[in-house]
């Protein structure tokens, strides 16, 4: 496929053929607000926030579903477009609690602030588990919605806390369909779909069953793509953004998914799959996604060397323990010693263990449990 050239907001941009207008715009470094779009999912065209004006095209096409063509002239941010976007968002916010988005004191609000007269107690931003980590907030900030004229009606749905890993509060759902699509398109599971509950259509399991009784594999992909606080991992609720992030490799299976550990106060607060790689490309499974912090921070972790005396373990210093091991191992005939290494340890560990065995004992009695 060759390259094509188009003009976006007056800037000439070269992109490869086959891209959508949205992708071309992103490549040019221009922001278009989106909600239903996700780079790992097929274009959907539902939220209509990504509307643009394109010369010689009628109406306001959605950038995420329109293929970029040679010579196209695109405007992403005219007053007319912004007006439309504002209308869309207002409608959306009439069903989504929004003081977190429009409250005039938002910037001043601290963790222990009390809103007093400002905000209805059921709608305070501190009630959203995802406050400060929300795509809807970003979009609203860009479009600039200051007040919402339509009256807010809460859906009044109970929060689903039944599964151990994440909570589902569909009062905060904006119907972008990303969760449903990722579960179907990427995970091939289809545990959730749009189902109607009374007058409303919301994502959920077939027949409103518990997630536990559906085909759900707890991979967390739906949580990762949800732009709001509707799907939130239990362990990171109320936590906001992590202080720092470290990219690493999953310690569980041989796929070697690339993961990002989000850290706060010396603890792993969340683990999310990384996208920019050829291994897992944004996906993980229940073990990597939800099974890491608890074992790393487990109170049963060994924290000090232990030496058995009269059948019971006693704490020892490193020097004592190492001296003991070294003198004991030196006391045997070399061929009486064997070493087992581990498929859980790093390459560096395994290298040192086999070098140690081979040089210290002059034999090759080193193996690991690869076979199992």
């Amino acid at each position: 496929m060759g390259d094509i050239t188009l003009t976006i907001d007056g800037i000439e941009t070269r992109v490869s053929e086959g891209m959508t207008v949205l992708e071309a715009t992103q490549q040019a470094g221009i922001y278009i607000p989106t909600l239903c779009y996700h780079p790992d999912l097929a274009p959907y065209g539902a939220c209509r926030l990504c509307i643009v004006e394109i010369e010689k095209m009628r109406g306001l096409p959605t950038a995420c579903t329109t293929p970029a063509t040679n010579g196209m002239v695109v405007q992403t941010n005219t007053p007319q477009i912004q007006e439309f976007r504002r209308g869309i968002l207002e409608l959306l916010l009439s069903e989504h609690p929004h003081p977190c988005l429009t409250c005039w004191r938002r910037d001043k609000c601290g963790p222990f602030d009390i809103c007093l007269r400002n905000v209805d107690v059921t709608q305070r931003c501190v009630l959203c588990p995802n406050n400060g980590n929300c795509e809807l907030q970003e979009v609203v900030d860009y479009v600039g919605v200051e007040t919402v004229d339509l009256p807010f009606t809460s859906r009044g749905l109970p929060i689903d806390r039944e599964n151990p890993f994440f909570e589902r509060d569909y009062n905060l759902c904006i119907l972008c369909g990303r969760c449903v699509r990722v579960c179907q398109e990427v995970r091939g599971v289809g545990a959730i779909a749009f189902t109607s509950r009374g007058s409303e259509t919301l994502p959920g399991t077939a027949f409103g069953r518990l997630l536990r009784d559906s085909d759900c594999k707890y991979c967390g992909a739906c949580v990762d793509v949800c732009p709001t606080g509707a799907l939130v991992e239990r362990n990171r609720k109320w936590e906001g953004a992590p202080d720092s992030k470290v990219a690493t490799t999953c310690p569980y299976c041989g796929v070697g998914c690339q993961l990002e550990l989000g850290l706060k106060d010396g603890r792993i607060m969340e683990v999310t799959p990384l996208r920019e790689n050829d291994v897992n490309r944004g996906q993980a499974c229940v073990k990597g996604r939800f099974g890491i912090p608890e074992f790393v921070h487990h109170t049963d972790r060994l924290t000090t060397p232990l030496v058995k005396k009269d059948g019971a373990f006693q704490e020892a210093t490193w020097d004592e323990a190492l001296e003991l091991v070294a003198s004991k191992l030196s006391g045997f005939k070399k061929e009486e010693v064997a070493v087992m290494s581990s498929a859980k340890c790093t390459n560096e560990d395994n290298y040192v263990v086999q070098k140690f065995t081979r040089t210290a004992f002059g034999h090759n009695n080193v193996d690991h449990c690869a076979r199992l």
């Binding site: 991979c219 470290v246 690493t248 310690p251 569980y252 299976c253 041989g254 796929v255 070697g256 550990l261 792993i268 050829d278 291994v279 996906q283 499974c285 229940v286 073990k287 099974g291 608890e294 074992f295 790393v296 972790r301 060994l302 924290t303 060397p305 030496v307 058995k308 373990f313 190492l322 070294a326 004991k328 045997f332 009486e336 010693v337 064997a338 070493v339 290494s341 498929a343 340890c345 790093t346 390459n347 560096e348 560990d349 395994n350 290298y351 086999q354 070098k355 140690f356 081979r358 040089t359 210290a360 002059g362 090759n364 009695n365 080193v366 193996d367 690991h368 449990c369 076979r371 199992l372």
Partner: protein, 540 residues
Amino acid sequence: MAGLVTTFGSGAMTNSIREIGDASCILAIGTNTTEAHPVIGLEIKRAVRRGGKLIVANTREIELVSIADIWLRHRPGTDVALLMGMARVIVDEGLHDTAFIEERCENFDALKESLKKFDLDFVAKTTGIPSGKIVEAARMYAQNSPAAILYAMGITQHSHGTDNVIATANLAMLTGNVGKPSSGVNPLRGQNNVQGACDLGALPNVYPGYQSVADAAIKEKFEKAWGAELSDKPGLTITDMFAAADRGEIKAIYVVGENPPLSEPDALHAIETLKKLDFLVVQDIFMTETAELADVVLPAASFAERDGTFTNTERRVQRVRKALDPPGDARSDWWITSQIAQKMGMKGFDFISSSNIFDEITSLTPSYGGISYERLENGGLQWPCPDSEHPGTPILHTAQFARGKGHFVPLEYRESAELPDDEYPLLLTTGRSLYHFHTGTMTRKVKDLNNLLGEGLIDINPVDAEKLSVSDGELVKVTSRRGNITARANVTEVSDEGVVYMNFHFAESSANVLTNPVFDPVAKIPEFKVCAVKVEKNSH
């Protein structure tokens, strides 16, 4: 992975994970991919969505069966018969790739000769699969190119596991499915760094990079680099170590991060053997069943508390990065081992960091030669990567096989070492669950994963359950010639008639108490997948 070394010259996955989704046909045999390697499972689903064909060969009705074009429910332990049967159909119908065979392979005539024994009637009778289905599967695999074979421990954990692997390699060579994208033979490694542990020489017969200990030139190279005298005699495998310890010949064992009692077949015996030792040192992050038996326990840092690299199943070397300080006095494994070495007065263990070790690795391991921590900052690299300009190798054997020519190996069908009889009428096979990992040292500490699957279950077909008058959820006693355990019955059609299934994550109902310690004579892999048991109602 001896089978692939014999046939191809390298034991590793021939292709890469992200190619799987572009295959026109996938033969998934002995792998419950969506459970054991979930993210590779996504690639299989992607292939099917794109219109690729999927053949699943598994005795259990695993999730992949629901999207498969053909499900081959062969009796456990009959993989060689099935694969050779398919090869026979391919040759009989002239579907093999003669050009590829002539140009790139050798010993085809011997293979052809050995196929004579695998006529359809014999194969159908042995595997329990109707012959029409075998023909259909053979055609599907041969006619939809590129075709990839994926397998896991369902293939290797047999007393004839090496033959099973060879049979997959024969099939791939026969159809020219080696050395091109989305094809090949792809062993899916279980634990995160099995590939790396093998690559780095934690094996009794090779130095890092599969350099043979028996090769005089190699020995000299390492003697020079390490300043020590080395042995050219292959050492003991874990299995041999246990046997030698049992006989009192091995008196001390240093165990780094392993939990052999749960993962050894015939676990009760393994525990007895460890108790016989004069000295046992265990280094781990938790007080495992093995550590309980130790004289000295050394606390190790977890993956989140240290730097290093893992090599995944597709030969990709990737970074592990330190995010936290280890709890208390816990330390990186390499640091602990190096300290022991230094206290024993040895030179060459004054490593100051993991990258320091990695530099020594790359200087002695040609296939890792071009990899460095610096390069890994831009993402993982797949070996062989011999020099710093080399981009890494996503596909092996592209121009020629690692050993030169691909070597066809004639095979014979051999029965599993222990088959059901009157006393032990059911066939037990084992595997792993999505929610747990290996012996559970890490995952079983995670409360929520335990909630989803907190105890050992034994899957029984409804027909067998009725015969035994066992109902769903009831505790049953499972007995083999080696011991017995209790487990909760899970009555389900997922398990075939006459076959029961357990996974091996649970210390309380450790399936490895039951399994048979007979080993594949070449690869020394225990026969976890097949043994004979009886199931009874629990009397108390």
